[in-house]
Amino acid sequence: MSMVTGRLRGLLGRRPEATVASRAAARQQLADVPPIDIAPNDAALAFFQSASGPVAIDELQLDSAAIREMRAAGVKIVVPLISQGELVGLLSLGPRLSEQEYSSDDRQLLEKLASQAAPAVRVAQLVREQEADVRARERIDQELRIAQLIQQQFLPKQLPRLQGWEVAAFYRAAQAVGGDFYDFFELPEGKIGIVVGDVTGHGVPAALVMATTRSFIRSDAPRQVGPSAVLERANEFLQSDIPENMFVTCLYVVLDPATGKLRFANAGHDLPYVRSTTGAVIELRATGMPLGAMPGMRYEEKEARLAPGDVLLLHSDGVAEAHGPQREMFGFPRMRQLMAKHVDGQDLIDGLLDALHRFTGAAWEQEDDITLVTVVRAADVLAGDVLAEFELPSEAGNERAVMERVAEAVRPLGIEGRTLDRLKTAVSETAMNAIEHGNEQRRDLPVTVRVTAQNGRLAIAVSDQGGAKDIPEAETPDLEAKLAGTQKPRGWGLFLIKNMVDEMNVSSDGKRHTVELVFDLAKATKGGTDAGAHRR
């Protein structure tokens, strides 16, 4: 018997978007006929699904495009292949070679064959589906690996090491790998370029645009005068190459580590935050459109300064736009609140990630790339913040002028009450010594004063020009002897100073002679009552 010459094409998918290949067995049609597609809404599908046994096509009274095509292809009989109640294929046969009709024996045989073939076909289909799945997943994995590779390739291998600064960074790609990036590079005059950006989209295209943007900025930045010029050129450059509907948000900051000065421009990226030592958090705002969106864009350029202890946070929207279990957003206010709580960069990053984890819950699948970069101007490694620096001629009475000016200079530190009184007494006594003894009241010789706050210490340095002379040690005056007239009533200055301050240092370079008065700021700003060692 030659009936099973019809070839069955596997159904794609379990649902009836069936493709039936039929090869007419007619002698005159030896070549393969093209597969016949049966539309999902074709009446033939429902019919074959419920048919029991072989169906003679010519006898069918169905309004079906598929049946008409089968007839045209010479199909005479169709046997539905049903596995576990589901139509998995059709066995289509042309006319018998003998040109006789199919007998009832033939039909029985076909039915038996179909019942055995159906499960086998189903198994084959499942295997194929699985193979296709695996291949598709491999393709996606492969793409993700490439995207990750590109991204990792272009993230900094190490963070800049700057005297007096601490830089920390965190980057975690989302499952689908977004287009986040950050970068640091050296610029002329010891300045540092810092870039944080986010390319719209995911995967390899986003990674390539990210790599391009980063490389362009990195190579162009040293030649440009300022951040806005760099972003303007990057925008023009990307304009021509970037895929449609793709753009790049990008923040570019130039830091001068020597002064803490920042110059920055922003192409639509999330605003960076600065936390000052008081705990106040401000945004650094500069306007500009994302890169690659429109030609001829201009970018606002702004300046700011990081004071010792200030924390700068650059970030992408991966944190603020993360959703909680109820679809509520993590949000910028929460970020700001957390910022106010953390003084250290790495500490802040850990705190943000921790809060994010608690907010989203353990089952959260990261929605977007997360980038966090912190730049902290260390409060303790610096030469100190100069609060005041001035000089006055050596005239009697100027000790009070020195005292008033120093008191004014330390006002922002919050020193008050008795500590301020002690400071004033110590300063005026020191200045008086400099005027009277060091400079011998010579008007042409200045008394120099420098007030610095560093590392929790307030230091007031008073210098005169009497560096060649010895400074007497501060001795405890003998009041009994003074009252008895065996000792002069004077000689209280150094003794008083020593008792007013936390520390007194005397130094000389042979020409200038300097007395440094030191106050412990933690104690001084508490309005502490026990500064200075009392001698009773």
Partner: protein, 116 residues
Amino acid sequence: MQERTADKAAVRHQDGVAIVDLPARIDGSAEQTLNDAYAEATQTGAKRVVLNFSGVDYLSSTGIALIVGVLARSRKDGKQISSCGLSDHYREIFEITRLADFMRIYPDERSALAGS
């Protein structure tokens, strides 16, 4: 800045006690003022002298030396000297310098007058 250094100290007498209202600024420039005030306070035969510091806003180490000088003289003269109206800061300085060990210190004029 108001210059009150040339101000003479005001001397008042009450119940046989001489009260000296000291000028705002007691430093080297107040030497004559202080000596005059002491002379004025004691010439009428008052046994007790109260130095009223309530108007003092600046007391330098030289000023302290002047107070020490006055105290030394009073001891020689057999007069009793006490102080009142010292700010917390200057009271601390009186303690550090041990002036507080050699003269009685009252918070205000009333308690100084009542004190023996």
